[in-house]
Symmetry: C2
Subunit: 199 residues, 2 copies
């Protein structure tokens, strides 16, 4: 049986711990690839083009948007960030599983262009826990936290557009679920080339 | 998040090893339930009604068919065998995952009544291996084996009606895949009650 490549989009409200989950997943599963973003922010010492990010000028980035070369993009603090189609496509062509950790708006853009991807929504065990986590960071004002919580309520409405929902209560359990979803999707009749009689 | 019950149908051509896989799965995953069949064959010493089988008379069995109480049924060597809806429904109502190991014709009948089930097709790594396994049993004549292989080719056409396909090359790998599919399906947005804001 031939395996097709697979794009796994991991999203969820801010503060839900999706970054931590993805790092744990990629550390434990060395056969997964991480999507590398394009950015217009200057590279920092030690960063390599094509590893942490693809570094591009603003003009180049705008050209990529125009040419439909980005699966999604957003502006953040004056810099552009986006997911380049060529990188994802190259991984998929090699039959690889590629992980894209992204916010909900970004996931929505990706879904509109890559509906055959696997979309996983991470939720906090409860709003109490989400609010504690946001406060625990100690980096945001109470007003920012209240806004984030209000947005999280709205964002949860997006669950219906996702294939899977994982409650990030215990990180080990959540990572095991992510791994199981990847194994299962690789056995999905949608994703494996039809068993050949001639084999 | 509330978990709904789930019916997992494991099927595939004769000789593919689905019985061995299911026994290994149920030994390793004690939270799974096994579907108990109804039969008209007489109980053997040591068998308990409702454990190995539900033992019913032919009249009772025919009445169950008539009343739509069976998800599937078949006649084999003069005895009737079937999957009782009440048993499966009781397990689903308790939020349990119930395993039904069944031949392809039976799976087709179940699918027509229980389309929300998870349908997994087990395939041999190749026809050479399937034919070796059938011959390895040493219980069938060459003619029977040839007929079985011809039927297996036909049966593989059914894969398209299934959600997952697992190649039974290595039993441990195949059992891990079955487990992953069950974990993944339990995280599917189709199967979990919507995350409640009030939680």
């Amino acid at each position: 049986m031939q395996k097709k490549g697979m794009l796994v989009v991991i999203s969820g409200p801010a503060g839900v711990g999706k970054g931590t989950l993805c790092r744990a997943l990629l550390t434990q599963s060395t056969d997964l690839e991480y999507s590398v973003s394009v950015t217009t922010r200057p590279s920092r010492p030690g960063e390599t083009d094509g590893k942490e990010y693809y570094f591009r000028s603003k003009e180049e980035f705008l050209k990529m948007i125009e040419d439909g070369e980005l699966l999604e993009w957003a502006e953040f603090l004056g810099n552009f960030y986006g997911t380049p189609r060529f990188h994802v496509q190259a991984m998929l062509n090699q039959g690889k599983t590629i992980i894209l950790e992204i916010d909900i708006q970004g996931a929505k853009q990706v879904k509109s262009q890559c509906s055959e991807g696997v979309f996983i929504f991470i939720v906090p065990p409860s709003f109490t826990v989400l609010s504690e986590r946001l406060r625990g960071r100690g980096t945001e004002s109470e007003e920012v936290i209240q806004n984030r919580l209000a947005r999280a309520v709205e964002e949860l409405e997006n669950v219906k557009d996702y294939d899977y929902i994982i409650e990030n209560n215990d990180i080990d359990v959540a990572v095991e679920r992510l791994k199981s979803i990847i194994v299962a999707e690789n056995s999905s009749t949608k994703r494996v080339a039809f068993f050949s009689k001639e084999e």
